[in-house]
Symmetry: C2
């Protein structure tokens, strides 16, 4: 069955399309009697305005384009949930494209959004600032997520350095002085920032502390391997900070397998606060992806309404202290 158009409604109600449009959009200068006739016709025909036509003629779609990489697990859904909540609160919709790896795909995704979205939210963890800039159309506003540099565009990031620094402060306060950091992939911005933040804060608060950094890949097994190597080398650390929870959990398990007590002999902390961390009592930094998404959307809608310019927000994660660094009372 063909969808009724505004002209069908106009014919049915014996008015012009202009009157129908005015009625639909709640303009004031419509006679109540006319309005009623139009609304009756709308109901009778089951008329629903065509969003593409409206976008075209108004040059406005009330839609936000979202381009994100293939995030794993909770993060993705929390980010989207946060965006969606903020967007629907202000009457916006979300056009979603996930971007698997390469930039060419991102370019294509963004091109396909031209005309359908009023603004863009782009998360490109690995892209270089200048690549990213070439990607984004100059014609519509964009907000970036988790980027080092936005080239004049608002950027919202998780403050990995501050988060890692909080762990360093926690370790320092506990009096730990021989510390192991299991890093994430070197290519990853987050991983580098977490290392840097941790290292700097530790040096500041406990200059005498010894810090060993070993590579990892965000997988549980990397945490295990790091602990095994540590034990084999005879290096007796008293605290471990892994760049994410999965590695921290691996490390914790391996320590216990080797009859070391956590937190008695070694304290362990991670980053992210995945659900498992709460269940297994891992101290970690809680990252609020939903807030990140919501704030990005709010910033973009502000931009779309002409108010607000560049912004640079770093969302600081919360330190969640659990049994892995604190003796049970």
């Amino acid at each position: 069955m063909r969808q009724a158009t505004i002209r069908d409604v106009a014919r049915e109600a014996n008015v012009s399309v202009a009157s129908v449009s005015r009625t639909i959009n709640g303009h004031s200068n419509v006679n109540p009697a006319t309005r009623e006739r139009v609304l009756a016709a709308v109901r009778a025909l089951g008329y629903v305005p065509n969003a593409a036509a409206r976008s075209l003629s108004m040059a406005l779609s009330h839609t936000i384009g979202v381009v994100v990489p293939d995030l794993h697990g909770e993060f993705f859904s929390e980010l989207i949930r946060g965006m969606d909540t903020a967007a629907s609160a202000t009457g916006y919709h979300l056009l979603l494209s996930t971007m698997h790896a390469d930039l060419e795909e991102a370019r294509h995704a963004i091109a396909a959004m031209n005309g359908r979205v009023d603004g863009l939210i782009v998360m490109a963890t690995q892209a270089q600032p200048e690549e990213l800039d070439a990607l984004l159309p100059a014609s519509i506003p964009a907000v970036l997520l988790n980027c080092a540099d936005g080239g004049g565009r608002p950027v919202f990031t998780i403050d990995d350095r501050a988060g890692a620094a909080a762990i360093a402060a926690h370790f320092a306060a506990l009096g730990k002085r021989n510390i192991l950091h299991i890093m994430g992939p070197e290519s990853n911005n987050d991983a580098r920032d977490r290392r840097k933040g941790f290292e700097e804060e530790l040096k500041r608060l406990a200059p005498s502390a010894k810090l060993t950094v070993v590579p990892g890949n965000y997988q549980e097994e990397a945490g295990r391997a790091a602990v095994r190597d540590m034990l084999n080398s005879g290096n007796k650390v008293d605290a471990i900070f892994a760049a994410n929870d999965m590695m921290a959990l691996g490390a914790m398990q391996e320590l216990r397998t080797n009859a070391l007590d956590v937190p008695g002999d070694v304290v362990v902390a991670g980053f992210d606060d995945i659900p498992l961390a709460g269940f297994l009592g891992l101290t970690t930094m809680r990252v609020h992806m939903d807030q990140l998404g919501a704030q990005a959307v709010e910033c973009l809608t502000r931009l779309l309404e002409g108010k607000g310019g560049e912004e640079r927000v770093r969302l600081v994660p919360d330190l969640v202290i659990r049994a892995s660094t604190e003796k049970p009372q």
Copy 2:
């Protein structure tokens, strides 16, 4: 900066808009020299076709509208990931709306998609078939997720009954005869199906078994409470099937708190296979939300291309046997 339009390109290349359009869309009847001039103009102006205009004139958007409830945790992201992968493989985009609770919101979300999408994928766990039918426009195809009845439309569901039956079979094979089922919310279709599938299969395979069913709400605490009640009542069950993993984990913890061995004294199984389940050794049914999403998209694209009609697919979850029902070797 204003986006270049097709007329700008036509002027720049000294041709008509028709030639530009033909070049862009790869029609054959364009002179190579003209094509080159057009492509040069496109590059010079940074022209990107306006998707809204194209949708309008072709009555085709290459976009799929997705309306899903606010799913918790992994499910949402896996579902979307599955859809996105399948969609982008066939050149489609995803316009997402999450629907918090009420139908009015769903109606609004669907109305806003009119003209923007070629088809719909709708998941409405609580809506009645007739309500749902009234919601969906007759003008575009739709595929339903997790619905009892599609009223002629394709339906893709997780086969909760078969999944629950698999647990029943597992328990029966283990020789368990005094069994507790912790249900999900009564209002929930999934919860009712899981109970039904479990009950029926158990009756079939072990008619002598005694089954107690207690209410729950999918929260961890409900699992704990159910075990406490069970212990207080003196009912000595030897197997517990909770309608989801969180309740199963709560039950498992409470059993161990009360010095009961899992799986020695009581075996425990859940449903969903959340990441925690793997970590804590909980036997459960693995639900493949990504496959559900991907298959729904593939079905819809088939529908959009005119091939394929009604379909009813039940995706059977996999039984994953872990330490909570099986003695370690």
